[in-house]
Amino acid sequence: MASPGLRGLVADWSSDRQAFHVAWGKAMMWIFLLSDTFIFGSFLTGYMTVRMSTTVAWPNPSEVFALHVGATAVPLLLIAIMTFVLISSSGTMAMAVNCAYRRDRVNAARLMFVTAAFGALFVGMQAFEWSKLIAEGVRPWGNPMGAAQFGSSFFMITGFHGLHVTAGVIYLIVVARRLQRGRYEGRGNYQIVEIAGLYWHFVDLVWVFIFALFYLW
């Protein structure tokens, strides 16, 4: 006989049925990442909409984001470096997960700190890029290079991504500190590193789409 009322609600929703045979933390992280996919998906769709519907020429990202090395302008140089930094951070993160599952918590924590450092470097370069564009007169409501929607799309999309990277850096540092202190040693359960890794790889994944659709298109 099912119990009524609030108690019944809790019982029904937690009645020992399991769809995903993974740790609950991992399933929940995946579902959070799925919801985040929709947020970034909506941002990128909004960007597509304003870019397709404007009658003013869209600023050429290849020129807007060029850096001068000596006298020559190299297109998208900073963005390319940022891409390689983020991919490298994903590589070190994958190896940190590997170390954690081999119970090598010292190296796992070290690799996570390296990952966080790459992430901080990425955010630093993004701050540089933002200030450069702001100095050149790019605002959310207009810019000297072309369509006004360029600024709002740029600041919204890269800003939201940068916030994710910043949150990820903090998350990684917290988990790495706990690893160092041996907090997970007792239960011998190092799944938390893989879960943190899932978030970090997702941040890299989103950048793949932003790089392709916003900077290269």
Partner: protein
């Protein structure tokens, strides 16, 4: 590969290979811009490299390739709804563009 505790244990050489592959793919997609490819080649290659990189990250780095189908489908199918949104908004954007050409020039 997938041990009893749901742990993902794979050789480190696999991660290094994928890492190298992601570097190559990023360099190639940067090359698309650097060598000023235009038109069909440009957006075709951008999309191909983007999907290859995304696939490698999700399948190997996030271990989705070794998860059970129940989880794989739960994660990969819902984002397909975004394609519907993209389709709707593309047609809407085309319409807005045409009306702007007619009335705001």
């Amino acid at each position: 590969m997938d041990t009893a505790g749901g742990q993902q244990q794979h050789p480190i050489s696999l991660y290094l290979k994928i890492w190298a592959l992601l570097f190559v793919l990023s360099a190639l997609s940067y090359g698309v811009d650097y060598f000023h490819l235009q038109g069909l080649w440009r957006w075709g290659l951008i999309l191909v490299f983007m999907m290859l990189k995304a696939g490698l990250i999700v399948a190997v780095f996030m271990h989705l390739a070794w998860e059970r189908l129940a989880l794989i489908y739960a994660i990969l199918l819902p984002p397909l709804a975004l394609l519907v949104l993209v389709g709707l908004m593309a047609s809407e954007a085309g319409y807005v563009h045409l009306t702007r050409l007619l009335f705001f020039r």
